[in-house]
Every structure is written in C-alpha cells, then in structure tokens.
Symmetry: C2
Subunit: 215 residues, 2 copies
DNA sequence: AAAAACGTGTCAATGAATTGACAGGATAAT
DNA sequence: ATTATCCTGTCAATTCATTGACACGTTTTT
C-alpha cells in the first residue's frame, strides 16, 4: 500500500518546488514542462522529472505538468493539507520572532502555546497566545494535542526539555538550540543551527578570497 | 599553492565537528581518536578521518588527534580567526532577534549596522546599534568595510536590496527572505529558508505516521 | 627492549545521487 | 488526416559520497 522510501535529498527539494509552483500558479500559468521549470530553478530537467516521479506520474507527454495540480499534490505530500498544533518553548527574541511570524498558519501550523522559565514574562501575550511557566508544559502538551514543539532555549536546558516533550507525546521538534537532541526513534527532529549556517558562509567567503586573491 | 576543491558536503559537517571539539576542549580532554569521536557524534570513524584528511594530516598514528589543535585548525579553516563586519537589513522581529544574539561576536562577526524602511523605527537602538533608514544602506556598506549582510526583509524587496548590496561591494548575504537571490558570481549566499525546514519536518511527521499506522 | 595494542592516512569497494539518452504517447501544425 | 514537435517516464551511465580494509608508524604495556 505504501510507496518505497524517498531519500531526504528529494524531500529537501520539495519545498523549493512548492514555492516555485505556487508562484507560477499565482501568475496564472496553467502548465509547465520540466524544461521550463529547470531554467527557472537552475536545476536539470532530468532531476525534476526524476524527483516528481518518486511519487507517481504527475505529468503528461507532450503537455508537461499541470501547475495547479502539481502544486496541490506536492503540498499534500509535504503534509500541508493537515493541521498541526505547535508550541514554542523559550520566549526570548527568537521565540517571539517565530511566534509573530504568521505565515505558518497559512500552511496548517497552528500556534497554540508559549513557555518560558522566566517568571517576569509569564502572562505576556504574543499574537494572542499567553506565555506560560515551564511547569505547565507537560500537561499542556498532553491535553492540547500538540504535534510540534519549537525549541528556542539555551543549549543547557534543551536536552532536558526535549525529553519531557517526548515523554508527553510530542511528535516532532523544530530545534533551534545548538545541541544535537537524542530522542527515541519516531520523534522527528529538524535542526536549525544558525551558527553552523553562518560558519559555512564564512568558509565560502574565505575560500573565494583565496581562489581569486582578493583582499 | 592552494588545495583542491573541498565538497560542500564536507564543509557542511565542519561546524558540527567544531562544536563537539569545543565541548571536549572545555571539558579538558586533550586527545581524541576518530573512533571515540565517531561514537560521540554518531557518524562513522572512516568519515571523520576522510573529512579531516581533506585539509592535511592533523592526527598521529597510535595517538589520535590533539583536541585543542584540531579545534583551532577547523576554526581557521572556517575562517573564524578573521573578523567580519555585518549589517542586518530589516528590523522586524527576526532581524532584532539576530541582532540581539551575541554569540556571533565570539566567532568574529561584528554587528555594525541595522536598516529598515519603516520611518518609525529609525533611531531605535538594538544592542548599541542604531537603526538607520534604507537610504543610507549603500553608502554605509561602502564606507564601513561591511562583508556580510543579513537579509530579514519580505521577499518582495529582497532581490532589489541584494542587488544594491552587491553593487556596493558586499561579499556575502545570509538570506532569510523566502526567495532565491540571483547575484553575480563571487558573492556568497547562504539561505535560511525557515518555512522549507518546517515543511521537511511536516513531511517526516506524516511519513512516520503512515509507516507505523499511528493516528 | 620486545611485544602488543592503538589508530591514522589512504586505497579500494560499495552505495547513493545526478545526469544523459531515448522510446513512445500526446499535442500542435499543416 | 498526416507529419512534426513536444515532453514525460524510465533505464543506463556517470559522478559523487560513504564505508570498509589494512599497511605501517606511535604509544603503551610487560
């Protein structure tokens, strides 16, 4: 009944396809060929066809792909047709920034709660969501059908909080803390290590300078 | 004189090595073998040796790697021994969160300026840096030796701002806007597409639920 | 001082991802 | 209606990345 395992390399490209297709759709474009899309996205047409074909034949010979259909289909594959409740743990600058970012709702991610250990922040309001003390975290997760926890706390407490979340039935953690979480199989973790990303940038700046002899 | 090209797959792993080595160093560990490190980091020892060896022999048979030396060496490879001035364009929640994040300084990234088009924000202070109007962006970049621009503005204006930055000598863009920037060769771009990351998480939640039949 | 254990650097083997090529069905042009 | 063009799905070839194996120099033990 289920399809074969799809590689994470392919999954990693789906959001980008989704974005480009959404733009084409908004422009009123009805159909697109892998050739056209490849020029737009600067990838090979072969890769596009190969990628889409992992999920079954979405296209038609001589016609190409129907933009609206393909857009919806990729959204469905990504699970964006389902609703997922999420909470944010850590009401610092980054946590608040994410809480205030409204576009997640558009994709089915519903902001349900926010937690911090700092007593001074308790009761404050971020986009209609009240900040609660960490003591309430576990019961809140259990009782409110929370799928995803966004972790924007210092690394020191991240592992401990993640374990608590796991014990109370969280399905996934979007981890902005600068540690690797060690969780039971079946709990999905997506790391956003901002400083790692900045270091990569730093490497590439220096590499380029060396290559070209730029000062 | 210069080494052969290193694959981005390897570069992408360097920050994580750097982090683990830093932790070992702080714990006072003097030496580590690829075997020990592989258990700690959950990767193969072979990959570790292969990766390090791209940059020359850092280890010694029968001894392993000197933690402090290796840590410094990887830092140097990543360019963290150099200073890079950066600015933030877009003083919304995310821009401020990044501006307030102080750890970047520790790695040689110096916060020099912040820009926004909203007149009401001009003059406000984010960690000692005054928010300036967008009109001053280009001259500021030219006159203050700015290497990196952090882009935390809506996608609509991102391409235009990026072009201006390019014309005024920026070396790299850390792009949080949800578009692919099209810049002349030699300007490094590192994308942080948060919603892409969240979509991947979403996919993996659903995949796991299907695999296991969880409701 | 000799023997045993350790552990790197490197080469070869395997595995994964990307690209190229093309048969043949669908569309568009004549 | 026929022909030419388009363009997918797929297989094969190639390229890239990861893993395994081991010769040999270092360290540690006896």
């Amino acid at each position: 009944m289920e399809e074969k395992e799809i590689s994470q390399a392919v999954i990693g490209r789906l959001p980008r396809y989704f974005r480009y297709l959404g733009e084409l759709k908004d422009e009123g474009v009805e159909r697109v060929s892998s050739q056209e899309l490849s020029e737009l996205m600067k990838v090979t047409a072969s890769q596009i066809r190969q990628d889409f074909n992992n999920f079954g034949g979405f296209g038609q010979q001589g016609y190409g792909y129907n933009v609206e259909f393909l857009y919806k289909e990729i959204g469905r594959i990504l699970g964006l047709d389902k609703k997922h409740n999420f909470i944010i743990v850590g009401a610092g600058n980054l946590g608040r920034a994410l809480g205030n970012y409204m576009n997640f709702e558009r994709r089915g991610f519903i902001f349900k709660g926010m937690f911090d250990k700092n007593p001074e922040l308790i009761g404050e309001d971020v986009r209609g969501v009240r900040i609660m003390p960490l003591e309430r975290l576990e019961s809140f997760v259990r009782e409110n059908d929370i799928d995803i926890a966004v972790l924007t706390i210092p690394k020191a407490s991240a592992e401990e909080v993640a374990e608590k979340l796991a014990q109370n039935g969280i399905r996934a953690i979007w981890n902005f803390a600068h540690v690797d979480l060690n969780l039971p199989e079946g709990i999905q973790v997506e790391n956003v290590h901002l400083s790692d990303s900045l270091m990569k940038l730093s490497y590439n700046i220096n590499r380029y300078m060396h290559e070209t002899g730029t000062e």
